[in-house]
Amino acid sequence: MRQVHERIEAFVRWWDHLPIGLCVLDADFQVLYWNRCLELWTGREREHVLAQDIGTYFHRFRERQYRDRMSFTFANGTPIVFSYQLHPDLFSDAPGVPNSRALRATVTAIPKEEAQGYWALVVVENVTELNQRIEQYRAMHKRALEEMAAREEALAEIRVLSGLLPICCVCKSVRDDRGYWHQVEAYIAKHSEASFSHGICPKCQHRMYPEFFPVEETES
């Protein structure tokens, strides 16, 4: 196994200088290579991770569903996409705790030279910035839709209240579009956000009940 590590090390020395995370796994999930970028993004140093089962440090890789999917790559060479939305904690230490960075991974197969089967090359991209921009865009989009809806609602209200209302000059009833007459309070309450409470003004108090509300009293 040491020879394999040395061969991979020699072959991929320059991978340390790439701005993406790279690791190579054997079919038993042992880490054969771990580049500097992954050290930085996961906080796990190469010397600790190399020759260990990747599941020792990253819980997702201990789970059966992940092992089953990757077993296809080791056996058949099929590629895998681990999207950020479905696997936000792929390189996290604990279940349900997303990485501090948003990482997405693509797994491709490297054919083994001497034996059947493949190694898995895991290419990890940091999509934190992209993710933040998209979240901001989504929030903006949602806010814009809400504001548009509120504006539409306000405009509809203004349209109702600013329309020309045919009103009876005697009883003050209002005529609707279909020609029916309605009490003014009922009509306005139905077509706007306004509601009514009833009282009596001083002038009408005197007019209706002069015995209880003489002129001097109501005027004072």
């Binding site: 059966r64 569903q65 089953d68 999917r69 296809f72 058949n76 060479g77 099929t78 590629p79 895998i80 996409v81 681990f82 999207s83 950020y84 939305q85 479905l86 997405r104 693509t106 491709t108 197969a109 054919p111 999509v127 992209l130 993710n131 998209i134 865009y137 989504r138 989009h141 949602k142 839709l145």
Partner: protein, 200 residues
């Protein structure tokens, strides 16, 4: 229409169904929710027939996940969705609100994974059951209308074409699986089918 013997079509349909069944089981385990995936029909189409099939769907814009394969025979495997269905599917899978779906870079990456799971299972099933060896390219996400998609179809190619139905929670979404094969590739595929010996 390319006509095969009934046994050959049955074998192809079984390959696709086994693959898609595996794909559904993987999706279920990833998403911890019940996803039903069915492939009611499998056809072999010529380029012209595929063009006409896609143009009659009435879909304005397709979302497409694709990877290439080469080895004992070469071709491309694709999964197509109506883009608006794809948005709903991604929202259902990620738990995002259904009334405000997005097919931005995050959404397309998620759909790319869904397509990748199904296509891997399909190609894995072909590879395992027929004992064939392939090398694959990385899955890609693309969008386009039927006309734009048709420009990728080589005239001489043959298309293994299957409708797939996803059922996620209350949502039912239709997808299409297409495997592009050259005529020689089709011959090789048919030769590898277990029912090959029975074909005259």
């Amino acid at each position: 229409m390319i006509t095969l013997r009934a046994e050959q079509m049955d074998c192809l349909a079984e390959l696709v169904n086994v693959g898609v069944g595996r794909g559904a089981s993987v999706l279920n385990s990833i998403l911890q929710s019940h996803i039903r995936l069915q492939v009611p029909s499998v056809q072999l189409l010529t380029c012209e027939e595929l063009r006409s099939e896609l143009s009659t769907t009435g879909v304005e814009r397709f979302a497409q996940v694709e990877f290439g394969f080469s080895g004992e025979f070469s071709g491309r495997a694709q999964m197509l969705f109506d883009r608006s269905d794809a948005e709903k599917l991604v929202s259902a899978l990620t738990g995002a609100p259904q009334d405000d779906p997005h097919m931005d870079a995050l959404g397309s990456d998620t759909l790319c994974e869904v397509g990748n799971v199904v296509l891997n299972a399909l190609m894995g099933s072909i590879s395992n059951m027929l004992n064939l060896y392939f090398v694959y390219t990385v899955p890609e996400y693309k969008e386009g209308n039927a006309e734009e998609l048709a420009t990728q179809f080589a005239e001489e190619a043959v298309f293994l074409y299957a409708h797939a139905w996803f059922e996620v929670e209350q949502l039912s979404v239709e997808g299409t699986l297409i495997v592009f094969l050259g005529v020689r590739a089709l011959d090789n595929l048919l030769a590898a089918l277990p029912c090959h010996e029975t074909v005259s």
